[in-house]
Assembly symmetry: C2
Homo-oligomer: 475 residues x 2
């Protein structure tokens, strides 16, 4: 089999929008303006037999009328018109197609299945590669190429790869991860996968140097054996975080009507995760948490952790959460204890590991030397710090957001921060704005941040298991 040429998909020199419209509330209009407004810098052609121009640019009645070569066509016409549009693309020798339109095999209707088979046949017979149908297509930041709904997808690219059978999952995950400072190499919403499928996309990410971690939402696979092989091979090189939709009886009924996928049994998928080292996750938040963790934390992390916070319940909660994942919270040496004691007020705290500083740690003028003493300890491999963003002391928190990454840079040991929302009220948006700003700043400096301790520890547990999987395979 020839290797797949992804250039016309991720880096097309020209794009035809089939179904372009002047009305930005219509699918074809939104798609056209999405590319134009985001400064896609290749050639853009509007195809619409009922229009003479779209936004002042000439509209073509069909793809075949476009005078120059077309690398990719994005098809957004209604389902009954898609087969003809694809035939036109093939005749024009368009190299790749994204079909956003829904209404194919996922409807369960005879005509939907027939149309999908017809477009797959045309693509195969003409060597034209196809993304979709029933998808939101490609987000390729460096080329400002995206038709994902929503504003402000950055052109800055980064180390996260994303592939998903759900368009909603794709655009939601990218938008949420963006706010944490995560940037993407490519994000692919691939829907029914009637030509290119999960194996092809995963193979792309396996080979792509820029991609350091892969997030995936998968409902079903077309070729189970090949998927196990590609997933296992990729997983040895970089972590794959995968949410498998449809693992229950009700869920597998739902995937059939979403992307016409076969869900597969829970037992089979549990075996898949064990065998391939793919990291299982459920829900957008867990996928993103794991991306943050894998992107920030080193491949190998020792198991001896210190927990630092102002407040006893948090140290109790951390202890309860760390115990089952096999992390230890060893006592400090007498030397470390004395160093920390000298930096704290005489009462209201508990100098040990976990370290309860008493008042919120950002209130302590000695927070930097305290954290340095913890990080310097030979007994400790990594440090978990929980602090709040306070309404009444923002300046102190600002200092924290500088102190922790700088100690992390100096000592080389991983720091993990949990930064809970202190309030859910709509009256205190300034606190939340501050929290989000510091969170992004921490993550961009290599310090992972999680909303709660429970989420941080769940991520640590999965990362530890993944690292064990990889190192066992290397021996």
């Amino acid at each position: 089999m020839n290797p797949i040429d992804f250039q016309p998909i991720f880096d097309p020199r020209s794009i035809a929008i089939v179904g372009a419209s002047n009305d930005p509330t219509k699918f074809g209009g939104r798609t056209y303006f999405a590319l134009k407004d985001r400064d896609y810098d290749g050639k853009l052609y509007a195809v619409n037999p009922k229009a003479t121009d779209i936004d002042g640019e000439k509209a073509y009645a069909s793809v075949q009328e476009i005078p120059e070569d077309v690398d990719m066509a994005i098809v957004a016409v209604a389902a009954p018109f898609v087969v003809q549009a694809i035939a036109d693309c093939a005749a024009k020798r368009v190299r790749a197609v994204q079909i956003l339109t829904a209404g194919f095999s996922e409807t369960g209707s005879a005509e939907g299945v027939l149309w999908e088979n017809q477009i797959a046949d045309i693509a195969r017979d003409n060597g034209m590669r196809m993304v979709g149908p029933n998808c939101f297509g490609i987000y390729s930041p460096e080329n400002a190429l995206t038709v994902l709904p929503g504003p402000d997808f950055p052109k800055e690219s980064g180390p996260a790869g994303l592939m998903s059978q759900s368009g909603g999952f794709t655009s939601f995950t990218v938008r949420k991860a963006m706010g944490l400072g995560i940037r993407f190499s490519k994000a692919i919403s691939y829907g029914n996968a009637c030509d290119l499928n999960e194996c092809d996309y995963l193979g792309y990410f396996e080979a792509d140097e820029q991609t350091k971690v892969v997030g995936a939402y998968v409902e079903g696979v077309r070729d189970g054996r090949r998927f196990v092989e590609v997933a296992g091979k990729t997983s040895r090189k970089k972590p794959i975080i995968m949410w498998k939709g449809g693992l229950t009886g009700l869920g597998s009924r739902a995937v059939a009507s979403h992307t016409a996928s076969l869900g597969g049994s829970r037992q089979v998928w549990e075996g898949f995760f064990r065998q391939t080292g793919v990291v299982p996750a459920v829900g957008i938040d867990e996928v993103i948490d794991l991306m943050v963790g894998f992107l920030c934390l080193p491949d190998f992390m020792g198991r001896r952790v210190s927990v630092v916070s102002g407040g006893g319940a948090i140290t109790v909660a951390a202890s309860d959460a760390l115990d089952p994942i096999g992390l230890s919270i060893p006592p400090f040496s007498e030397e470390t204890r004395q160093a920390i004691s000298a930096l704290l007020p005489p009462s209201g705290n508990s100098v040990g590991n976990p370290l309860d500083t008493g008042p919120p740690i950002f209130l302590l003028p000695t927070v930097k030397p305290i954290l340095e003493a913890v990080a310097d300890s030979d007994a400790i491999d990594a440090v978990i710090v929980q602090h709040e963003v306070s309404a009444y002391m923002p300046a102190f928190v600002e200092e924290m957001a500088e102190v922790i990454p700088s100690i992390h840079d100096e000592c080389g040991k991983p720091f993990i921060v949990t930064l809970p929302e202190p309030t859910l009220s709509s009256d205190t948006m300034d606190i939340e704005e501050t929290r989000r700003r510091y969170r992004e700043s921490y993550i961009r400096r290599g310090v992972p941040v999680f909303d709660t301790l429970e989420r941080a520890v769940s991520v640590l547990g999965k990362i530890i298991r993944y690292n064990e999987f990889v190192s066992a395979r290397k021996q």
Copy 2:
């Protein structure tokens, strides 16, 4: 045993602050100003032998010098001075004391244990009731009585009771729940519990008519047998949501140095939850989610659910999540299907249960009749709706926040909303502000809101189990 008189604790006519200070950054200063600024409307006395006045009011050298009766004293002096302060309170016939000061048995030091025993003896010998030591004390909204750190604790009271060995948990939980529109009857941070303990507080909530649900953070209990009895009795009348800290080896070491509690084994506590019907939870967010669920949802809820959302992955996720907790997603009748079909565009959706409307539901002008058709269905007991708060269409979302509660009021069936954060960026705080406003508005109108589907379903599962517990005990 005489019943405990909680009046001087929750509704004192006069309070002495022992350790009051002009410096609001000191514990005693913060405590004094917290009461004064929040318009506590009883008499307030400042006690500080080193000051002549506090904020323009006379300062007394000791409690005994106060010329009038003192219902409650709040003690915030350093640990070595507490025994004397308590002896003074007893001599003055102060009826109740909150000791905020830490540095007692939780330090593990001989003098800390001795002091704690001495104050417990003084209290017992004089019939003076004591909250703490090592706590943040009482939040009694109707009397504007709170020394919890942080601004803006409302005077409005409500149906949630809270009791906690951790001050941080207490103030965090109240502040976060506030933003969801939850109001409290009483919140009690009780620390080391050397006089009044978990049984006494739970007994108060059991008898209190205003309290409809009790949240609790417990590290250890003083009298296990009595606690099982009180918890079981209370649990039959109203749900108790309890986070038990220190269930692991590491955790039980941590509780010893936090509140000098004995953690107890996991097996014992699992038996406790089974036997009493107390609902187990881990972390502040889960405790609050369960409060929202119990306060909004009816005692009995049928198991046939409809899931409505724009997006296929969400319907898959809902199906996967609902299946294990024994909820069903039955098909609609042909009549319901046709009614809904007539209200939706011809493709891009999946008319069934789960109902995937295709585009986000708030974009549909027909959202109200669609949801009415779902709610009217005889096959359905409850409706779960997931929708986003969109950056680009706030007016539509505003309509949703009116539509769902009004259908809920009309049909009487429970609606459950999941309203995820669409972005984590700090650049889009207006969206988050909108989301929080609608969330509070939904909850205040009896429609529970959760951040994610996974969290909603976890709450539903626990509520169903609790309702089964109660109804089994009633037969």
